[in-house]
């Protein structure tokens, strides 16, 4: 204060002071914990007129695989399954196991070039097949489940039609057994349980078309030509999908067996008496565990599996639990090791109880009452044979005696592992 200073010096000093304070404040904020608040993903609301093929393709990918990196998901040993659930039955990658329905492997993902034709290219062939003409004639009054009369003219229209009406054309050899390839195992995609909306179906088709060659995109035009209306015109009514909880679906004790079967998509492969959605599954055995489980426990194949240390069940109840929680433990003769391996992550204890109780209550009589029969490849043979009926009575009696002690934990024949330990409860 005693000395006179120039204004410049004072400006400099004041500026320095300011910058120091500001620096300290900024540094302090940077030292405090940093949390970035990301916006949650916006609900999918698509303006159909503005949407680009690329956006549709991306959306389709997500619907099919539930991820934009399906190969990565596969590499982690999980199934890349989105809300469309397509890869449950269709094979999209060589690394994937699924042969219930026609494969959809892309050319570029298949290095051996065994399959020289893409789904897009193949779709154009399908409409020209004489079998398609037959189907058109046969279903001239409309397919009974979807009410659609097959009338696809291009490959794209065919792909769209297949989603709204899987029965309109069934690829040779992929129909339900005994239907002469007239009934498809595939559910109707725009109805429950999968229930995709029109735009989502177009997105799935877009993905299929553009997978090998992005220039082949015609899905939207095909849809509009097929239905003769503008895409998205009716979607106003469709309520916005309720935000789905994160993570895989989990079967709960509070749910009915039917709900669990639907949620876990058992019906994709199995027929189950008394469950309305599970009337067509033809990949896995008919689930009449009141009858089957006791028989299978006794079967030499099962005993072999026990000896090999793979299977450990001693009661029918344990057998059913084991079959759900650890499907690879024992494969019913005549079937492949096809069943999803992740159910042990998807059931609560009480949810599993509900399903197991239900399955154990089903027997041959129930199957007959519901008009179901075993698949031809089941060793036991059709229920309708007279000698099978004798078996049934025996099995039911045995089942009754065994179900009494279902709570007791028994040492399995291998004598090492307690029955409850293999229930991979998480």
């Amino acid at each position: 204060m005693a000395k006179k200073k120039g204004a410049g010096i004072i400006v400099f000093k004041v500026a320095l002071w300011y910058c120091t304070i500001l620096g300290i404040f900024a540094a302090y904020t940077n030292w405090l914990p940093q949390i970035r608040g990301d916006a949650p993903e916006a609900a999918v609301a698509i303006d159909v007129s503005a949407v680009t093929p690329e956006m549709l393709q991306e959306m389709g990918e997500k619907i099919i695989y539930g991820s934009h990196d399906p190969l990565g998901v596969l590499a982690r040993g999980e199934g890349p399954i989105g809300k469309g659930q397509c890869p449950l039955c269709h094979r999209f990658f060589m690394e994937q196991k699924a042969d219930r329905c026609p494969n959809m492997i892309a050319l570029k993902t298949e290095p051996q070039k065994l399959l020289q034709v893409s789904e897009e290219a193949r779709s154009h062939e399908r409409v020209k097949e004489p079998r398609y003409e037959e189907a058109k004639k046969r279903l001239a009054d409309g397919e009974k489940d979807s009410g659609i009369v097959p009338h696809a003219e291009t490959g794209g229209q065919y792909l769209i039609e297949s989603e709204y009406c899987p029965n309109c054309f069934v690829v040779e050899g992929f129909g339900l057994k005994g239907t002469n390839d007239t009934v498809s195992p595939m559910p109707i995609i725009n109805k429950p349980p999968i229930q995709l909306v029109d735009t989502e179906i177009v997105a799935v088709v877009s993905y299929l078309q553009m997978r090998d060659d992005p220039s082949k995109w015609t899905a939207k035009d095909d849809w509009e030509a097929y239905f003769g209306e503008e895409l998205g015109a009716n979607e106003e009514d469709a309520a916005p999908a309720e935000e789905k909880p994160a993570g895989p679906p989990v079967a709960l004790g509070s749910e009915s067996p039917e709900e669990i079967v639907t949620k876990m998509t058992c019906y994709a492969c199995h027929k189950i008496p008394g469950i309305s959605v599970a009337k067509t599954g033809a990949i896995g055995p008919l689930l009449i565990e009141g009858t089957n489980s006791a028989n299978r426990l006794k079967s030499p194949e099962y005993q072999a599996a026990v000896k090999a240390g793979k299977a450990h069940a001693t009661t029918p109840r344990e057998y059913v639990i084991e079959s759900i929680m650890d499907p690879g433990a024992f494969i019913v003769p005549g079937f492949a090791d096809d069943m999803m391996k992740d159910f042990k992550h998807k059931f609560t204890v009480s949810g599993l109880d509900v399903l197991v109780d239900y399955l154990l209550a089903q027997d041959e009589a129930a199957a007959l009452a519901d008009g179901m029969d075993r698949l031809p490849n089941e060793k036991e043979g059709p229920i309708k044979k007279p000698e099978a009926k004798v078996d049934t009575g025996e099995a039911v009696a045995k089942n009754k005696s065994m179900s009494d002690d279902k709570q007791t934990v028994k040492v399995s024949s291998s004598g090492v592992i307690e029955s409850s330990t293999f229930i991979g409860l998480n």
Binding site: I35, G37, P245, L252, G253, T348
Partner: protein, 333 residues
């Protein structure tokens, strides 16, 4: 200064040295004092320190230059926050406190013209004067200060193997509404259906204090206590909350040691008493899996109880938790 005064001073310093660790131990939780008593003792200690400083400076006439006082005060503050304050506070808080203390000590030294003179004069001498002592101290300063900075930088650059700091937002913002058992619960407006008084009507928050301390296990109890009892059954039976949250709801259940972070302590005034009942409902029903983005890294082992309990059971257990801890849910009415 007489011999007597010097002796008094020495005794006081000795007493301080002897008493401080004892008090530190007492504050550590193992001692006979509770944290509250301990903080009173600490206040007393501070007053005692001020008194002795006054005695030394004003009565005994021993001046302590500001330049010495400043680092001394700083060290005392550090000892207070690092050693005396028990259990140890995290480094981030310590840094914050010491930052405040550093600024405060600087302000203290420059508070009046004379004290600023007293504080800055030796520094000015050290920087400017040309005689031997000043030069020596100047060189020493210019060696020590960069040396300290270099040491600190080296320390910072050393690879560290400690667990990373996990910042958890303890009370993340809840969603506007949640879907529990197929029913939409709007968290802003929902009310606990079991908060009922003797007349069967809704019991205003705060009015339940009349039931605090009551025995809910006798046969004929008011409606509210019946709900408390049923909530208690959920807490100790159906859901088994006590495994983690403890018999006394203090977050010290038999399993609690296994969790990191440890389970919430409902007896702490910073948990359920800070929150609306609907917030607690959200946490119980949805558990760790439904934590929002800001609650990253979602470190919560709380299961989504909606999968095991009914909506009513959840509401009842909440009633029980508030009743047991004697807290009231937060309201904004």
């Amino acid at each position: 200064m007489s011999m007597f005064k010097k002796k008094t001073l020495l005794t006081q310093v000795l007493v301080l040295i002897l008493v401080a660790p004892v008090l530190a131990w007492a504050g550590g939780g193992g001692g006979p004092f509770s944290a509250g008593t301990f903080s009173f003792i600490k206040v007393g200690l501070v007053i005692f320190a001020i008194f002795s400083a006054w005695l030394i400076k004003d009565k005994m006439g021993i001046p302590l230059p500001k330049l010495i006082q400043a680092p001394l005060l700083w060290v005392l503050c550090y000892i207070n926050f690092r050693v005396i304050l028990q259990p140890p506070i995290p480094f981030s808080l310590l840094a914050m406190y010491m930052g405040v203390c550093t600024v405060a000590i600087f302000l203290y030294c420059s508070i009046t013209a004379s004290s600023w003179e007293e504080f800055s004069h030796p520094i000015a001498v050290m920087l400017r004067e040309d005689h031997g002592t000043a030069k020596m101290s100047r060189y020493a300063t210019f060696l020590i200060v960069p040396g300290l900075i270099a040491f600190q930088t080296y320390n910072q650059m050393l690879p560290k193997f400690g667990e990373p700091i996990e910042l958890r937002t303890v009370h993340p913002a809840p969603p506007a509404s949640i879907n529990v058992h197929k029913k939409l619960v709007t968290l802003q407006t929902a009310e606990n259906p079991f908060r009922i008084g003797d007349d069967g009507n809704y019991l205003k928050v705060g009015d339940e204090s009349q039931y605090f301390g009551g025995n809910s296990w006798t046969g004929d109890v008011p409606k509210f206590l019946q709900q408390v009892r049923e909530g208690g059954v959920v807490f100790f039976g159906t859901a088994g909350c006590f495994y983690c949250h403890g018999d006394n709801l203090d977050g010290k259940g038999p399993f609690s040691f296994a969790f990191n972070p440890i389970p919430a302590n409902f007896a702490d005034p910073g948990t359920i008493s800070q929150l609306q009942e609907t917030f607690v409902f959200w946490r119980v029903a949805k558990g760790g899996p439904d934590l929002s983005r800001e609650a990253f890294p979602w470190a919560s082992a709380m299961p989504p109880w909606e999968k095991h309990l009914t909506t009513n059971e959840i509401w009842k257990v909440i009633i029980f938790e508030y009743w047991h801890t004697g807290f009231f849910p937060r309201t904004w009415g």
